[in-house]
Symmetry: C2
Subunit: 244 residues, 2 copies
């Protein structure tokens, strides 16, 4: 392998792929793709559709995603899981022809994604190229047609886990929450806060809800549970603004 | 005008345009473009190149950007400027044929951009469609091949003005600074902080610098001044991580 290309492909809308991303997929000699598992979260069919739409002729090399060990504490669980994924990549790479190898990354390779950390575990560490992609931050604000920030305002991007453990970030006006499987906004005092929520952003299944947190919060909990039951999985994100 | 489409086109790399963005430009009946001024920041040539590359046949309607009144205080200056831009759009729209009208927006229409706020001033307020685009956040982290966040970490996205006025955001680990014309990182104590900086991100003129803030900070001040003198303008962004 000459280079490893991490190609951000957006949040599930095939049109999120950039011209640079499509060209990288056409130029890649091989593409590593997680094998379709029992769940639907791997979205193997969407990855293959994106490759076809780009006109990619790369060799597709599937690999099995390892499982996380629920018995381990959080930080160690993530570390061991990344180690295990790196070993699967290393095995898969032995089947790659000469030339650049690409990985399709949901959203952007830099934003709440582990691909860069896993790539750093490969031996030897390959030369990396990162192709930026549309993230859930943009897909959410675009779907609601709202600004990310107020004029000269700051935004805190955080995780559901942090919101549960630490509450509303000190001094924050706007907070965007990623990786939240538990509707952690329920832990916040709703007064004076407005929420914009979206699931399956950019996909045909997209669901949106917004309003004062007091009213919209319970609706989101219900709609999220319904959507998740219907599809077997869900990926969602939300933005909360204080004093909006 | 049936609809106003705000199309994010990325940070200056023609490949940042998404497939959805290119298709929107092809389907638009008209495109509003700020007229090329004395400076180069309007990048009128790049906008036209993006339209050509997309195969857009839309009517191009130029408009003059008004000037900001430096005598006004910051918040009022911004408000009056947005009012004035909305009036220019309104005039330009009288020349638009039937069908959707598009605006090309650097980066993403939601992120430190005023397009949504200006569109809300139009009368009647048009039906809006927002096409997400690659932002400087992604272009910066992609260029340096670094993650935006640490594992389960939060990130504060803020402005140069806020960093100068309020210092390092309370409790923040990673801070990304937008709209900073003054290298405001110089106001921070450098100890234990690492900076990744980029100018003209994604463009052929791209300049990058990174390292411990104590050493990289002064280099960035020099390189930014040189690049700005050479090109007549500069657009730059940086990420600072504490304890990295």
């Amino acid at each position: 392998m000459s280079e490893l290309w991490l190609v951000g492909i957006g949040t599930g809308h095939p049109g999120h792929v950039t011209l640079e991303g499509a060209e990288a997929l056409r130029r890649a000699a091989a593409v590593l793709i997680p094998r379709k598992g029992a769940g639907k979260e791997d979205l193997a069919h969407l990855r293959l559709a994106i490759l076809r739409a780009a006109g990619a002729a790369a060799k597709v090399i599937p690999f099995d995603m390892p499982l996380r060990d629920p018995a381990l504490p959080y930080a160690e669980r993530v570390e061991r899981w990344h180690d295990a994924i790196a070993r699967r990549w290393q095995e898969a790479l032995t089947e790659a022809p000469d030339g650049p190898v690409a990985l399709l990354v949901w959203g952007d390779p830099g934003l709440y994604d582990s691909t860069l950390r896993i790539a750093a575990r490969l031996a030897p560490v390959p030369k990396l190229r990162v192709v930026p992609g549309i993230t859930a931050l943009q897909a959410l604000t675009a779907a609601h047609a709202i600004p990310f920030n107020t004029v000269n305002g700051a935004v805190t991007v955080t995780t559901g886990r942090r919101l549960r453990d630490h509450g509303w970030p000190a001094g924050a006006e706007t907070v965007v929450v990623m990786l939240d499987g538990d509707c952690s906004f329920q832990a916040l005092a709703p007064k004076g806060r407005h929420i914009w929520w979206g699931g399956f952003l950019g996909m045909p299944e997209q669901v949106l809800e917004s309003g004062p947190l007091a009213e919209a919060g319970p609706k989101i909990v219900t709609r999220r549970a319904e959507a998740r039951a219907r599809h077997g999985w869900i990926m969602d994100t939300y933005l909360i603004r204080q004093g909006a």
